[in-house]
């Protein structure tokens, strides 16, 4: 029986293509062999849609989209290791999720995002701690949304 997918909040976005691009970068820089689970990745998309709908907003701002996507990606973990991976990096899903969230904030400057925001200005220590924390600690969609609001919003 066919299932009907709810309308995605950004139907034009090819998330799989983005994910493959990020995976390719991670593989190259960390000397890994990775694989993507399509079924889990689809669940990431659907869960992101449902969570964004909880805000009750027609078009959630950029920080919310980045935060919710990052949350579901790091929670469901669609990326795993190929058997022949020469090395092991335990935070691949967390890093991919964070980089995609930051890419959204880097690119789209809506009314709430600081026009001068750039990832290059985020201290290395903060990025390192964030990746580590995403791997080891608990998060909610709202806490990640607030994190992106704090680093990218204008006050």
């Amino acid at each position: 029986m066919a299932t009907v997918e709810p309308e995605f909040w950004d139907g034009a976005v090819d998330w799989k293509r983005i994910c493959l691009q990020v995976m390719n970068w991670v593989e190259r820089n960390f000397q890994l062999e990775l694989s993507l689970n399509d079924a889990i990745f689809r669940e990431v998309r659907l869960s992101t849609t449902y969570s964004l709908n909880q805000f009750g907003l027609p078009k959630p701002n950029i920080a919310k989209r980045a935060g919710v996507f990052t949350f579901w990606f790091r929670k469901l973990k669609p990326i795993s290791y190929a058997e022949n991976s020469p090395n092991y990096f335990s935070a691949i899903n967390e890093m991919t999720a964070l980089m995609t969230g930051l890419a959204i904030c880097q690119t789209y400057k809506d009314d709430l995002v600081n026009p001068d925001f750039t990832v290059a200005n985020i201290p290395r220590r903060l990025l390192f701690d964030w990746i580590y924390s995403l791997r080891r600690h608990s998060y909610s969609p709202h806490s990640l949304t607030m994190a992106f609001e704090l680093i990218a919003s204008k006050y």
């Binding site: 009750g56 078009k59 092991y88 990832v119 390192f128 580590y132």
Partner: protein, 69 residues
């Protein structure tokens, strides 16, 4: 056990919360846009030494087994 909310409690998906600040935006994201943003993020990660720092951390193992580290 009763759960009592204060009189100022507002459910998160209610209209007052949505209107608390300007929460909506008219920006539509595209694949190309996010990829362009990713390229900038990746460049920043490559430039600031984060990759080397992560490789030295307990998150990264050379070889396929933890005991190889």
């Amino acid at each position: 056990m009763a759960v009592i909310f204060g009189e100022n409690f507002v459910p998160v998906n209610s209209e007052p919360y949505a209107g608390f600040s300007d929460n909506s935006c008219s920006v539509t994201m595209t694949t190309e846009g996010i990829l362009a943003g990713f390229a900038e993020v990746a460049h920043a990660f490559e430039e600031n030494g984060l990759i080397d720092e992560l490789k030295k951390s307990s998150l990264y193992y050379r070889g396929t087994k933890a005991e190889d580290k």
